[in-house]
């Protein structure tokens, strides 16, 4: 007769197995963490190397970080291609206005779709769902022809104004409102004499803050990184954004100071990296809620 396997006799084996499994999982996770962080680390390392040092591969940073920054700011070879403060301002201006417009108008549209009953409510919602997945790339040719016709080439308007109409975010906001926005409170506000816009501004927006925050962060990051549209619209050096300037210095890389170019590459990710470091909790939560696949 074989030995009876009970919980008591098997407990040790089970525990060891779990321990081994945990250790293996940890090894994989640590390796993946290294892979995830390596490119960022290398960007930083590259940004700190002098022109001469950058001809060799380095794993540890050197001491020319600020020197590279100075070259980038003062050397006429770069000042025509990469203007750090100008680019920072332009990128920030575009991304921040887009983020503000996205949350305000997506919130407004979703509010209209959830709170009110009207004839075209159904069709309007179906339309928003239907167009949610159209990629901007397919409208490129018509978009270029349109901005030429309306004299909007080299203007921030075609970058910022479309943020008033983000179908995917309206969809997300609508789902959020349906699940967690008590409509009774609107009735209460009406009885107290608040008009509809005031109700939206002073009651709905504060209550929707978590959803607004998540979507604003995502819109900011997405617009900051949206090299494609920026490159289609903007022409003059005054309006270039940071990703466009990175393209400029990358294209002439072989003839100039590598240290400064590498610094430029690193410089343009600092703002999004900071946003991420401070707000990652919101971001992860937002992805899990499933409203943000581009």
């Amino acid at each position: 007769m074989s030995r009876r396997v009970t919980y008591e006799t098997d407990k040790g084996g089970y525990q060891t197995k779990l321990l081994i499994k945990s250790i293996l999982i940890y090894i994989v996770l640590v390796l993946l963490t290294i892979v995830c962080l390596a490119p960022l680390w290398l960007m930083f390392v590259q940004a700190s190397l002098s022109n001469k040092e950058s001809s060799h591969f380095h794993i540890l940073p050197s001491t020319h970080f600020f020197e590279n920054f100075k070259t980038l700011l003062n050397d006429p070879n770069y000042t025509s291609l990469y203007k750090p403060w100008r680019g920072l301002f332009n990128s920030f201006f575009v991304a921040a206005s887009c983020a503000a417009l996205v949350v305000f108008f997506a919130g407004l549209t979703a509010y209209g779709l959830v709170v009110y009953d009207f004839k075209l409510k159904g069709p309007a919602f179906v339309f928003i769902i239907a167009v949610m997945m159209i990629p901007t790339q397919v409208t490129t040719v018509g978009f270029l022809s349109m901005i030429a016709k309306f004299k909007l080439v080299d203007s921030f308007i075609p970058l910022i104004v479309p943020s008033i109409a983000p179908p995917a975010i309206v969809f997300f906001m609508r789902q959020y409102m349906l699940s967690s926005f008590p409509l009774d409170i609107i009735e209460a506000a009406r009885i107290d004499g608040s008009n509809e816009f005031r109700t939206f501004l002073t009651i709905s927006i504060p209550m929707m803050k978590p959803a607004f925050a998540v979507q604003a962060i995502f819109a900011f990051i997405q617009k900051w990184n949206d090299y494609y549209t920026q490159n289609l619209v903007l022409v003059s050096s005054k309006k270039w954004t940071l990703p466009m300037m990175v393209r400029n210095v990358s294209a002439v890389r072989n003839s100039i100071d590598h240290g400064a170019v590498n610094f430029a590459i690193f410089f343009s990710i600092i703002p999004v990296a900071l946003v991420y470091i401070f707000l990652s909790k919101f971001i992860i939560g937002g992805v899990a809620a499933g409203g943000v696949k581009e």
């Binding site: 892979v35 290398l42 009110y116 393209r247 909790k281």
Partner: protein
């Protein structure tokens, strides 16, 4: 819950606000999306160029061409036919080579992260780190890879070969601009950027599965392998199909990394459909080909539309079945009540 009568009263008095609230969205959407889309469709039927030669040859953008552009990029043998098909081929290869490893890795990680038996301090930290590549500006990532592996002056080659790469062999197997290395690098960057996102989506899928199923499996003595293939995997199918389709739509839009990997000169082996459209729509005057770019956009639009419709089919299916089940239950319940028999528990 508002009663039907209440709802009707509300709709009488407040309907106009509904229109006012959604109006800005629709005005802007029609101006900046629908109009350009129709303009793209229209231009796909017109000539290619805006320069003098095109006008002289009668292929200017004012010149109606019928479906000639589609014939040019799809059927007529020539450089542009090959170009468009090559871009589709590149897109498919790069997308496939990125999606399969990506979903496998994400699935594995999602299962680990949601396994309650494995104690895992620092779970939040790992999630944050793994999602991070997704937010880093693609142009900078491409710029970094260009620095490390790019042209003759690349530091990695210099370090490995103790001199510029050109001293050894221009067509070296590992050169950034040769066919497969370029594709593999793009695939790697795409996996790196997106696996965290996919992982988090799959995790919320797994967390949506009824926990008692896992408990029952454990009590019945199922091992991790069995639990995964018999419970997790089948129940995740919908969300995986959703991931597959949205990833395909995303793959069609792949632009920044392939475009920037070589400092703004597109390497032929990684020229994607989006790069093709961009190149034809924005090239120098002579290289500009609005008609072809438009035709390619229209084809891409229909592919996206089909994929998008499939996404909704997958999503809707689940809801419909759920509703049907509920309706059936409700009817059973009603019947039972009508018989005056049992009581609901």
């Amino acid at each position: 819950m508002a009663t039907a009568a209440q709802r009707r009263i509300k709709s009488v008095s407040y309907a106009k606000y509904g229109y006012i609230f959604i109006l800005p969205f629709f005005i802007v959407y029609f101006l900046f999306m629908v109009y350009p889309l129709f303009e793209t469709f229209r231009m796909s039927l017109y000539g290619n160029g805006a320069d003098k030669d095109s006008i002289k040859l009668g292929i200017s953008i004012q010149h109606y061409m019928g479906f000639q552009n589609f014939r040019d990029i799809l059927f007529k043998d020539g450089r542009n036919t090959a170009d468009f098909f090559a871009s589709i081929k590149n897109t498919l290869i790069i997308w496939g080579g990125n999606f399969l490893p990506q979903i496998s890795l994400s699935l594995l990680l999602a299962v680990w992260f949601t396994d309650l038996n494995v104690k895992m301090p620092g779970k939040g930290f790992f999630k944050v780190v793994m999602y991070m590549p997704n937010i880093i500006t693609a142009t900078s990532v491409a710029g970094l890879f260009y620095t490390l592996l790019g042209a003759d002056t690349s530091s990695v080659w210099y370090t490995i070969f103790h001199g510029p790469k050109s001293n050894f062999d221009q067509n070296l197997l590992l050169g950034l601009t040769s066919v497969w290395p370029a594709r593999l690098i793009v695939m790697f960057i795409q996996i790196w950027m997106w696996f965290g996102n996919t992982m988090i989506m799959l995790m919320s899928g797994i967390q949506g599965i009824n926990e008692s199923l896992f408990e029952a499996a454990e009590i019945d003595g199922a091992n991790a392998h069995q639990t995964f293939w018999r419970i997790t995997f089948p129940l995740l199918k919908t969300i995986m199909v959703y991931t597959l389709l949205t990833s395909m739509i995303g793959g069609l839009q792949m632009f920044d990394i392939p475009y920037m990997l070589n400092g703004g000169t597109i390497i032929p082996s990684i020229k994607t459909v989006a790069c093709f459209i961009y190149e034809k729509a924005t090239g120098t005057k002579a290289a500009k080909a609005y008609g072809w770019a438009g035709a390619a956009s229209v084809i891409m639009f229909f592919i996206t539309a089909i994929l998008g419709a499939l996404v909704f089919y997958v999503q809707r299916d689940k809801d419909a079945i759920e509703k049907k089940r509920k309706r059936k239950e409700a009817m059973k319940e009603a019947k039972r009540r009508a018989r005056g028999g049992g009581f609901s528990i």
